[in-house]
C-alpha cells in the first residue's frame, strides 16, 4: 500500500468511527447486494452532500445514499427500507427551494439522477416516456427537431429533473397559457412505500378510477417514487411576439396584467420586473431593458401569425390605457432571446448585488397584485431590508426577493420575520402559500393559516392511503399535529456524523 493510500485509509477510518453501528451495517449490506456496492454510499462526504438542496433549510443527514438505475432497484430499496423501518427521500437535481429533498433524521436518500433516459416519443399520442432523472431542458432539446417541446419551463430548467418537476408541480413563465406540470403528466409508474409498483393515469383521456396521477403530481415525494413518466409534448408555435412595456409605477404594470386577463386574452407569458431588478438585469446582461422605468412587463403571445398580431396590438393598447410610457416589440429572434435571457437570469443579477437572498413564492388573485406589492415594499422597508420583485404576473405568482448579507448579525431574524408578513399579506388578499416551490419544510408552519384541522386531516388521509407508514419523505408538507408528521422515530438524527 502506498503512503497515500495509508494516509487515506486512516482518514477514512476517522470518518467512519463516528458512525452508528449494527442496524446500519445490515441495512447497508442488503442495499449493496440489491444495487451495487458503488451505488450505495455511506461515507461522511456523501451523507453531508445529500443533507441539502437549493434551499436554506437543514434537517438531518442522509442515511445511506442510493443511486438506483431501474425500477426494480427502487423497489428493492423501498422493501429494504420498509423492513428496517426507515424513511426514504427521493431526490432529483436538488434544486428545490422549499427543502423537499432534504432528509429529516437519517432516511435513505434515493438519488434518481442515474435514471435519465428518454425512453420513447410518440407524436400521435403527443407523449414521451422518460425516466425521472431526465433534465427538463434535455427533453425539450431532444424534441426540438421533431417540432415539439415540454411546456413547463421553470427558471431552473437547464438542471432540474422531470421527476422533481412532477413532484413539485413546477411552473414557469410559459405555464400561463399551457398550464403547470400537472397538465402535462399523462401517466407514471411509481414505486409505493411498500415496494409495490403502480401505474397511475394513462395515455387515454379518461382513465378509470380515481385520478391518482393528478394527486401524485405535486406531492413532493411523500406518496412514493416516480420511476417512469409519460409527459405530454406540445407542438411548437409557428408565430411568437414579445412585447416590452414600461411603466411609471408597479401598480400600473400590475393593473395592465389584470386588464389583459379581463379582456379575455391568455398570453403565453406575462412577467413583471420592478425598477431595482430591471436595473440589475440590465447591468448584468445588457438585454435592452429601460433603466428608468418603475416596472416593466414582458408579454409574449404565440400561435398563428394573424391572431398573434391581433393579441399583441390589444395588449399594447391595454398597456397604454393603464399608463404604459413605452411599448416595444422585439424585432427578431435575437432581440426576443435577449429579453428572455434578461428575465431568466434575474437571480444571477441579484447575486451580483447581495451575497444572499431569500426568494419567496406566494400567489394572490391577479386583481390584488398591485395592493399586495405595495404591502411587500412596506414590509421590507419596515425591516430595513432591500426587496426586489420579479414575478409570474399572469397567474398572480409573486416572487419577492429579500436581499441581505448573512454576515450581518441578526439579519436572518429580520428576513424571516419579513417573510412571514409577506406570506400573511398574500393570504389576507385571498392568496395561497405557494405557486410552484411547494411546502416542503419551508411552509409547514403556515399550513394551518390556509387550512382547518379537518382540511389537514383529510390531506393526511390522502397521504396515508398511498403510504400508511408515512415513510416516503417523512416529515414533509403536513405540519406537526397530524399523524404523518408525528412519527418521531423517522426523524431521529444520528450523532457524530459530520455535515
Amino acid at each position: 500500500m502506498s503512503m497515500l493510500e495509508k494516509a487515506r485509509r486512516r482518514l477514512g477510518d476517522r470518518g467512519a468511527r463516528a458512525e452508528p453501528a449494527t442496524d446500519d451495517d445490515r441495512l447497508l449490506s442488503e442495499l449493496r447486494l440489491a444495487l451495487a456496492p458503488d451505488r450505495v454510499r455511506f461515507d461522511g462526504a456523501e451523507r453531508s452532500l445529500h443533507a441539502k438542496d437549493a434551499s436554506v433549510f437543514r434537517g438531518g443527514v442522509a442515511g445511506p445514499s442510493c443511486f438506483p438505475v431501474n425500477t426494480e432497484e427502487v423497489q428493492a430499496i423501498m422493501r429494504i427500507a420498509a423492513a428496517h423501518g426507515r424513511g426514504v427521500v427521493p431526490r432529483g437535481a436538488g434544486t428545490g427551494l422549499a427543502g423537499g429533498a432534504i432528509p429529516l433524521g437519517a432516511p435513505i436518500v434515493v438519488a434518481l439522477t442515474k435514471m435519465n433516459r428518454i425512453l420513447s416519443v410518440d407524436t400521435d399520442s403527443r407523449v414521451a416516456w422518460v425516466e425521472p432523472g431526465v433534465i427538463n431542458l434535455d427533453l425539450t432539446r431532444h424534441l426540438t427537431p421533431m417540432g415539439f417541446h415540454f411546456a413547463p419551463d421553470p427558471s431552473s430548467q437547464q438542471v432540474c429533473t422531470i421527476g422533481g418537476n412532477l413532484a413539485n408541480n413546477a411552473g414557469g413563465p410559459h405555464c400561463l397559457a399551457y398550464g403547470v406540470t400537472n397538465a402535462h403528466i399523462m401517466a407514471m409508474e411509481v414505486v409505493l412505500a411498500d415496494g409495490d409498483v403502480a401505474m397511475l393515469g394513462g395515455l387515454d383521456p379518461e382513465p378509470a378510477g380515481l385520478d391518482l396521477r393528478g394527486v401524485f403530481v405535486g406531492s413532493e415525494g411523500t406518496l412514493g417514487i416516480a420511476t417512469k413518466i409519460a409527459v405530454r409534448i406540445t407542438k411548437n408555435r409557428p408565430a411568437v411576439r414579445t412585447l416590452l412595456l414600461s411603466f411609471d409605477s408597479v401598480s400600473d404594470a400590475a393593473n395592465t396584467v389584470s386588464g389583459i386577463i379581463a379582456a379575455g386574452i391568455v398570453p403565453a407569458a406575462l412577467e413583471v420586473m420592478d425598477h431595482r431588478i430591471t436595473v440589475a438585469v440590465e447591468n448584468y446582461v445588457g438585454a435592452g431593458y429601460p433603466r428608468d422605468a418603475a416596472a416593466v412587463l414582458l408579454a409574449e403571445v404565440d400561435g398563428l401569425d394573424d391572431g398573434v398580431g391581433i393579441d399583441a396590438d390589444r395588449i399594447a393598447e391595454i398597456g397604454r390605457q393603464h399608463g404604459a410610457t413605452d411599448v416595444r416589440t422585439a424585432n427578431d429572434d435575437n432581440e426576443r432571446a435577449l429579453l428572455w435571457k434578461g428575465r431568466k437570469t434575474a437571480f444571477g443579477a441579484i447575486a451580483q448585488i447581495a451575497p444572499d437572498y431569500y426568494l419567496h413564492d406566494t400567489v394572490v388573485p391577479r386583481s390584488e397584485l398591485a395592493n399586495v406589492l405595495e404591502k411587500v415594499y412596506a414590509i421590507a422597508d419596515n425591516y430595513d431590508l432591500k426587496v426586489m420583485n420579479v414575478f409570474h404576473a399572469g397567474d398572480g405568482n409573486l416572487h419577492p426577493l429579500l436581499l441581505f448579507d448573512s454576515r450581518e448579525p441578526g439579519v436572518l431574524e429580520r428576513v424571516h420575520a419579513a417573510g412571514k408578513e409577506i406570506v400573511e399579506a398574500s393570504l389576507d388578499a385571498g392568496g395561497v402559500l405557494s405557486g410552484e416551490h411547494g411546502i416542503g419544510v419551508e411552509k409547514q408552519a403556515y399550513m394551518d393559516r390556509l387550512f382547518s384541522d379537518d382540511d389537514l386531516d383529510h390531506q393526511d388521509r390522502l397521504r396515508r392511503a398511498f403510504d400508511p407508514g408515512c415513510r416516503a419523505n417523512p416529515g414533509k408538507v403536513i405540519p406537526m399535529g397530524h399523524s404523518c408528521a408525528d412519527i418521531q422515530a423517522l426523524r431521529r438524527v444520528p450523532t457524530g456524523v459530520w455535515g
Binding site: V159, G348, Q352
Partner: protein, 386 residues
C-alpha cells in the same frame, strides 16, 4: 483543515445548483459529489467545519476536470477555478494529493528537447507498473520537422511545449495566417518553453509561477517587448492570461493583457484578413473549455471561421467539456472516456465532415476515437493558401 481558500470566495456559492448541468463529471455520473456545488460544499466542510479529508473527499476533488464549465453557468460568479486550484495546491503540499510519479511525468515538459524523453519515461514508468496501464498516449511523436522562422516583430507566436513538439503544423498554419494578415511573427521557441498549465491543474502552482516569471522576463525584452503574444492552444492562452492573478503583480497583469488566443486576435483585426476561398463541407465547432469557459472568447472562432466556411454548425451541449483536461484523460481514463462518449454522441447528431477545435488536448482526445478534428487555423490557412 485549512485549505487556504478565501472565505469570501467560498461563501459566494448559494448552492442553487444551476452549474450542475454544465459539469461534465456530474453529467456522466449524476453524483452530487462529482458536481461543482458538491465540491464547493466539501471545500467548505473541510475548511470551515473541520470535516476530515477522507478518500471520498479527495476523489471528489481529483475527479474535477477543471474545465470550468461551471463558471459561466454560475449566477453568483463563484471563482471556482481558483478555489479548486488552491485546494489542490494545499492538498498537494500536505502530501494528500498528486502521487509522485504523476509529478515526475510532468517534469520534462519544461524542456522541449526532452519531451520525447519524457514520453519514454512515462512509458517506462508504465511498464514498471508505476503508472496505471491506461496511460496510453494516442499520438505518435514526430521527431524531425521544419523549424519555425521569424518573419518580424509585430507579434510573438507562442509555441509552448506539448504543442510545439506534437502539432507544429498548427503553428505553421497559424503563422502563415498571421503573416497573410500582415503581421510579422517571432516564434517564442526556447524563450518560453512551457506555460505551466498542467502543473497548475495538478496543484503544482509553484512550478507554474517559476515558468511564468521566466517567460515574462524573456518575452519582455528587446524588439518584442510590447508585442502581442498570440497563442494557438486554448489551455496555454488561458494559463498565460491568468499570470496576473497567479503572481499578483502589476508586471504580470500587464503581461497577461498582451496575451491573445489566435482567433480572438484575428477577430479583432478582421479587416486585415484576406478574402480567401470558401471551403465546402460541414464543420462543427467544438469549443475548448479554456477558450469558452475560462477566456470566454469562443465567439471569435465563429467570427473568423464564418468568413471562409458557410456550413458552420453548433453542437447542442452548451460547450460541455470533452473530457481531455490535460493529464485528466490519463489520470481519470474511465470518467474521461464517458465524457468523451457523450461528446461524440453530440457531434454525431450533427454529422459534420470536420470538427474544429482550438486545443491540442481536445483534438488528440477526440482524434483517438476517430473524430476528424482540425485546428481552426489550419482551416483558415487552407482557405487562404489552398
Amino acid at each position: 483543515m485549512d485549505l487556504n481558500l478565501n472565505g469570501d470566495e467560498l461563501n459566494t456559492c448559494v448552492q442553487c445548483g444551476l452549474c450542475l448541468a454544465h459539469c461534465p463529471t456530474y453529467r456522466v455520473s449524476g453524483d452530487e459529489s462529482m458536481s461543482p456545488r458538491g465540491r464547493i460544499h466539501l471545500m467548505r466542510e473541510v475548511q470551515l467545519n473541520n470535516a476530515p479529508v477522507t478518500h471520498e473527499v479527495l476523489r471528489s476533488f481529483e475527479t474535477c476536470v477543471q474545465c470550468r464549465g461551471c463558471e459561466p453557468a454560475c449566477p453568483s460568479a463563484v471563482p471556482y477555478g481558483h478555489l479548486m486550484e488552491t485546494t489542490r495546491e494545499t492538498l498537494a503540499d500536505a502530501g494528500l494529493m498528486t502521487p509522485w510519479w504523476q509529478r515526475l511525468a510532468m517534469r520534462p515538459l519544461a524542456h522541449t528537447k526532452l519531451l520525447g524523453a519524457g514520453s519514454v519515461m512515462v512509458a517506462l514508468a508504465q511498464r514498471g507498473r508505476l503508472v496505471p496501464k491506461r496511460l496510453g498516449l494516442s499520438v505518435d511523436v514526430p521527431f524531425t520537422q521544419e523549424p519555425l522562422r521569424a518573419s518580424g516583430t509585430d507579434v510573438i507566436m507562442f509555441t509552448g511545449c506539448v504543442m510545439d513538439a506534437w502539432q507544429r503544423d498548427v503553428h505553421q498554419a497559424g503563422q502563415r495566417v498571421l503573416e497573410a494578415a500582415g503581421f510579422g511573427v517571432t516564434p517564442s521557441g526556447d524563450l518560453a518553453p512551457c506555460c505551466g498549465a498542467l502543473h497548475a491543474h495538478a496543484g503544482l502552482a509553484d512550478d507554474t509561477r517559476t515558468y511564468a516569471t521566466n517567460m515574462m522576463r524573456t518575452l519582455s525584452r528587446g524588439a518584442i517587448a510590447d508585442a502581442s503574444i498570440i497563442v494557438d492552444s486554448a489551455g496555454c492562452s488561458a494559463q498565460m492570461k491568468d499570470y496576473g492573478h497567479l503572481l499578483g503583480t502589476e508586471a504580470a497583469r500587464r503581461f497577461s493583457s498582451r496575451v491573445f488566443d489566435i482567433s480572438e486576435f484575428l477577430a479583432l483585426h478582421l479587416d486585415r484578413l484576406p478574402e480567401g476561398s470558401q471551403l465546402a463541407g460541414t464543420v462543427a465547432i467544438q469549443d475548448p473549455c479554456h477558450l469558452r469557459h475560462v477566456q470566454r472568447v469562443h465567439e471569435a472562432t465563429r467570427t473568423v471561421l464564418g468568413r471562409y466556411i458557410p456550413n458552420l454548425v453548433e453542437l447542442d451541449d452548451d460547450g460541455l467539456c470533452c473530457g481531455a483536461g490535460g493529464a485528466y484523460s490519463v489520470m481519470e481514463a474511465q470518467l474521461s472516456g464517458q465524457i468523451r462518449d457523450r461528446k461524440v454522441a453530440v457531434i454525431s447528431a450533427k454529422d459534420p465532415d470536420l470538427v474544429a477545435s482550438a486545443n491540442p488536448g481536445c483534438s488528440m482526445h477526440l482524434g483517438a476515437v476517430g473524430v476528424p478534428t482540425i485546428h481552426p487555423m489550419e482551416l483558415v490557412d487552407r482557405a487562404l493558401h489552398g
